[in-house]
Amino acid sequence: MEVSGLDEAGEVDDAAAVERARGGDLDAYDVLVARWTAPAHRFAVLLGAGAEADDVVQEAFVKAYRQLARYRGDSGFRPWLFSIVANEARNLHRSRKRRDGLVLRAAAKEDPAPTDADPADHVLATERRQRLVDGIRLLDSREREVLVCRYFLELSEAETADTLGVPKGTVKSRTSRALTRLRSLLAVEEVPGA
């Protein structure tokens, strides 16, 4: 089990809450819902659920509760919940006709920490971020999922494997493939502007 130090205290609480929730204690489950709604929602948004992220999260919590009997706690509540969120997000994609529903948008807001750097650099950085986001959007959803888990959520390979329901080796190869693909997408995009 890979649990970062930061998570350790939380995971202990999660385990106790899961145990009580498993016995039907909805107050205990409330604690888990309160704790994990924001991270789960963020995950759903990053996976492209867009405006439906809240629905995805709610569905995931309901399903998670009903499947608590199957939860074994090997790797904590979060990867388990997130695996259900990922599944729900995938179902959403399948039921959608338009692919542009998968929105990953760079923040419109200004640089949170403006520096004295050259404004030209700032523009370049903004453009670069936009290209990255566009590139991620063009990835296959399975490739996007691993990048989201590994680099946006900072999950370990093992946690990513649990979350996506694939072997650790698959996480490794898929991540590598996604990075290669993203790199080539960025290279192509850069050509017209070069």
Partner: protein, 238 residues
């Protein structure tokens, strides 16, 4: 795929630039979707024992369904999963201090309001059981229709008195909007008296039973064949 890959560093840095709207609070919605389903599930799972908990029942009964461990509580009624079958003991032991009383006498002696289901008419017999030192009974039992129908009522404010039933299938229902449990099949019934001893009053399995709670009193109505009939009787206590 080394971690010092500049693209990975870029991705990690990008995270702060992604526009993620605030999440909606899901607690109420999730709970609302889970509570009724959960109740149904308990029953489907095969309820084995019912415990009419008469212990801590607050006067202000928020009609909430609460479940802790393998015990489900609804306003003073506890439902417990029991692995052991509801076997009957070889020798039944009656409730302590049982005495026959008149209805008006029962109403005076009990510390809780004693009521009669209007649908069942005048009770054939009224019994008081398990009295406190001052003589106030914990349980008032009435029989109707030549003994075929039995109503137990007991004070929900004194502790700890239990009624246990094992076996049979049960389902949630309600009596005037308050949660109630209907045990359709035969089941054994045991009382836990003031001293904590379990007593099985009769050597037979109980007939269909409705258990519910009204005001400070918990009721157990046995012997009406259908839920509709039992609910109707339970809804009109006088």
């Amino acid at each position: 795929m080394p971690d010092d890959d500049p693209l990975i560093a870029e991705l990690r840095a990008l995270d702060a630039w992604l526009d993620v709207p605030p999440a909606a609070d899901q607690r109420a919605a999730v709970r609302a979707r889970l509570a009724p389903r959960r109740r149904a599930r308990w029953i489907v799972a095969g309820l084995a024992a019912l415990v009419g908990a008469v212990g801590v029942v607050a006067p202000a009964r928020a009609a909430v369904v609460e479940a802790v461990g393998d015990v489900l509580r609804v306003v003073g009624i506890e439902v417990r999963q029991d692995r052991t079958p509801g076997a009957l003991p070889a020798t039944p032991s009656p409730l302590p201090g049982v005495r026959i009383a008149r209805l008006d006498e029962a109403k005076r002696a009990a510390l809780f309001p004693v009521r009669v289901p209007a649908a069942l008419g005048v009770p054939d017999e009224v019994k008081l059981a398990d009295p406190d030192p001052a003589g106030a009974p914990r349980v008032v039992t009435m029989t109707f229709r030549g003994g075929a129908v039995r109503l137990d009522q007991f004070d929900g404010t004194i502790s700890p008195m239990f009624l246990k039933a094992s076996g049979g299938s049960a389902e949630w229902t309600d009596v005037k909007g308050e949660a109630a449990i209907w045990v359709a099949g035969p089941h054994s019934v045991r009382y836990v008296d003031r001293q904590g001893s379990e007593r099985t009053e009769t050597g037979r399995l109980a007939a269909p039973t409705l258990i519910w709670s009204g005001g400070v009193v918990t009721y157990r109505l046995e012997g009406l064949a259908t839920l509709a009939e039992a609910r109707a009787a339970a809804s009109d206590l006088r």
